[in-house]
Symmetry: C2
Subunit: 501 residues, 2 copies
């Protein structure tokens, strides 16, 4: 490498990544095992490191280097240097265009909105939260204008989490997905057959759950020499360094699914992080592509692998010996049915594989309408409730179990929700393509062989980092554009067996 | 506060302290639960944060501010501002006088010496280590010259760990201590009575050890809302923030003492950290006074409290119910005797309360002789072995169990060892003074009341921070100068009962 400016850029960015990784450790520690009285000083520590990261990311020298470099590298290349320059250029300009005044106002408004949201959940009244949410929405509209957009403000928001995605495309695909899911869920609901879900609500010893979860996470390839599994109320995955990916879960002695599929889910995120290029850590070619692609990896391992019949053909005997007193009397088919129970419900984070995406589509439609100007904040609950009735056939009895259930909006995370459902779509498309290339995955899973699938994902998804957009990775890996067909087909196949529909 | 320069100084120092506290977390995590493959990147993280701390500590503006401030505040005041200015001024000038070239050479030499030390321990040959240690000694002699000293180079080294202490004073007090300990230990050895130490070498369930240790640490006042206890091979205490003090211990299923007294020892360090002024965190009035004072707190709780008869009058029934199968058949007196077993041994970190200080005196005398020019590195083993025979009546059979046992010298930590024995002396003097003021401590301990002693230490030691020197704290708290009388008297009293001497 003989380009001195590029070297400076890379060196600067790598150093920033080290600082950001230290911030990850501060956050991980805070959420897992920090003593509770340490809260105040921890905030000072995080603020200081965050401030340094921000300062480095908005360093004017960065702008100068990027301006000099951007014309030297083709924008559509997947070459490391080109990807680095163009991704950083885009990010730098996006940040640069948002006035510091607006950044501060958003930061203050979030703190207030968060308190108001907590209070509104207690009083069960969206009206108490509405004025704060209105302020947040107003500020984010300002932000989209400061950054600039073509014909759709929401594109700017989406781009923060799903770079290069277009609202119009997502809208079209989600409409098609909805058209596939709504009748499927209705048919399941009308089926006479119901698995006995009480099986997974028996008593499962927590130490045994942890051990079994660790075994499964290891079996699918999560490297515990380069990661950990801890307990938190809100499970997450975070990366403290290229060989240090930490996942968490939470255990409920009276429910098997939460911790087990939560562990597989976070391990799926972790496998992606562990599969990113170590030599490019902190640089775009070594960073996750998008939240949608990230979620595709967690959903793929949680649902397409972990909720498959073949997976349990391998793991059920092990589960029976791990939880002899709980499921010694249960058959594989009963257990498989129970972990695949489908039931429209109010709370997104508790939703099953079939209904989950509809929760997301509702949020996406509301977000889009608000930034289109088609919906006022005050009308959120009505729009929300009406969509729940229409898509899922249930109506929230109150705001806390309805429009107030998620933390995202008071944080200003508009454009984030759709990535959850995009993850489901990408996952199904990757899974179908992998099957075509590596052969009968059911037989492999039945034998406890998950490495062929992981290898396929490593080569076709993980190693690419941000060198392609999400749909670019999809195209290269599957030959397809974004489509809900694979997902709907997969679900219909699974449920027609379980529910005899 | 109206002094703008002072405000800048304090603000700068507080920010540096935040960065240093982040480094503490990186280190704590590395030593407790970091995934093993994360080692390389962790080194990058620590190097970056360390570099930032160093840069801030040697920032020329700091020198300008301090030069402006130093004449505005009396040097002998215990006022916060005066203490802050004078302590930082001293530290800044000390660092400033050491050329960057020398700092780097020392750093490189330490890495090489550490490897050589590890190798020499394997081959059991001091000669393999000697040339590296010679280099280290040479560089530290250069360092003492760069910093400057009156008539004793060793003063400069001592000052890094025990600020303001003088070699001549320590020499005199250690000589007196040795004169008290050597005959005491001989008498114990000659006594016909031996406690049955096999009692504490029975099987003690590790989960029960942890629970019992936590209970004892809580009972003496360690605040687990502002701290943690974890497991590491080398126990330590570290402070991640003003309300975040983390201690560690290690468990041996076949030995009670190690983990239990280790926990009390580290909790004693932790009580000191938890008793420092939160409003002055990172500033000299809120920092521990010296390593000797720090060690006085750990030794006081470990030995003077934790190995007292009264302590076990309270805790022995609890120990019996925690370890019913191990010590259900043991009497209080038998147990008390076993935890106070005295036996000259080769390894410092395994030494008992009576012999420990002699291990330190040996190291101190050797260090002093080398910096005086009275001893060559190559003659270390001979000097070492001769002193072990003379003071403890035993001779190391090889270098690994002798002169090569400690990591300190290859790290260049000359002047560090004496603080361990100074801690024993301070502890005994504090303990005797506390007894005079707060009444019969034995009765208090017997009732599980440790708060009066802790309060006395908080008021007379902890809250002072670096506002006085170690001997200044001692004088203010006890009215005395440094003396081994209290320690010798205390040990003689204890062992005359246990060993009938």
């Amino acid at each position: 490498m003989s380009n001195e400016t590029l070297e400076k850029l890379i060196d600067h960015t790598r150093q920033t990544a080290i600082l950001a990784s230290v911030d990850e450790l501060l956050n991980w520690d805070q959420r897992t095992l920090m003593p509770k009285s340490a809260e105040t000083y921890r905030a000072d520590q995080i603020t200081l490191i965050n401030g340094m990261v921000h300062q480095r990311n908005t360093d004017p020298r960065l702008g100068e280097w990027l301006a000099e470099l951007v014309d030297q590298y083709p924008a559509d290349s997947t070459d490391d240097a080109a990807v680095t320059v163009h991704r950083l250029y885009k990010q730098y300009n996006k940040e640069k265009n948002v006035p510091a005044r607006l950044v501060e106002e958003i930061s203050r408004a979030r703190v207030k909105a968060h308190s108001a949201w907590v209070g509104a959940r207690e009083t069960n009244s969206f009206a108490d939260f509405a004025p704060y949410l209105e302020t947040i929405v107003k500020l984010f509209k300002e932000k989209t204008e400061a950054i600039g957009f073509g014909d759709c403000a929401y594109d700017v928001l989406l781009d923060d989490y799903e770079p290069d995605a277009k609202t119009s495309e997502v809208t079209a695909v989600f409409a098609e997905l909805k058209d596939g899911l709504v009748p499927l869920i209705r048919e399941i609901g009308e089926s006479k057959y119901r698995p006995d879900k009480s099986i997974i609500e028996r008593r499962f010893d927590i130490a045994a759950q942890r051990k079994f979860g660790l075994k499964a996470a290891s079996a699918i390839g999560f490297d515990f020499d380069a990661g950990r599994l801890d307990v938190t109320h809100h499970p997450f995955c975070c990366t403290v360094g290229p060989k240090d990916c930490r996942i968490t879960t939470r255990y409920n002695e009276n429910h098997f699914n939460g911790a087990f599929f939560g562990t597989l889910h976070e391990a799926g995120h972790g496998l992606y992080e562990q599969g990113l290029r170590e030599d490019q850590f902190g640089l775009p070619p070594g960073e996750y592509c998008s939240l949608g692609i990230h979620e595709s990896q967690s959903r793929l391992w949680e649902n397409l692998v972990g909720r498959s019949k073949a997976f349990w053909e391998h793991f059920f005997p092990k589960a029976q010996s791990a939880f002899a007193n709980s499921i010694g009397d249960v058959t594989l088919d009963q257990f498989y049915g129970a972990v695949n129970y489908v039931e429209p419900s109010l709370i997104r984070v508790e939703a099953d594989e079939a209904t989950y995406s509809l929760h997301i589509i509702i949020r996406f439609e509301i977000e889009q309408a608000i930034f289109d100007g088609a919906l006022d904040v005050i009308d959120f609950p009505a729009a929300w409730n009406q969509k729940y009735v229409e898509y899922l056939g249930i109506e929230p009895p109150n705001d806390s179990d309805g429009v107030l259930q998620d933390v995202h909006w008071c944080e200003g995370l508009f454009g984030y929700f759709p990535t959850y459902a995009l993850g489901n779509l990408y996952a199904a498309q990757f899974f179908a393509a992998a099957e075509k290339e590596i052969g009968d995955m059911d037989s492999q899973f039945r034998n406890g062989e998950f490495q062929p699938l992981l290898n396929w994902l490593r080569e076709n998804v993980h190693v690419t980092g941000k060198s392609r957009s999400a749909t670019g990775i999809l195209k290269a890996a599957t030959g397809e554009t974004l489509s809900p067909a694979a997902m709907i087909e997969g679900l219909r196949k699974k449920y027609s067996e379980i529910y005899s529909i």
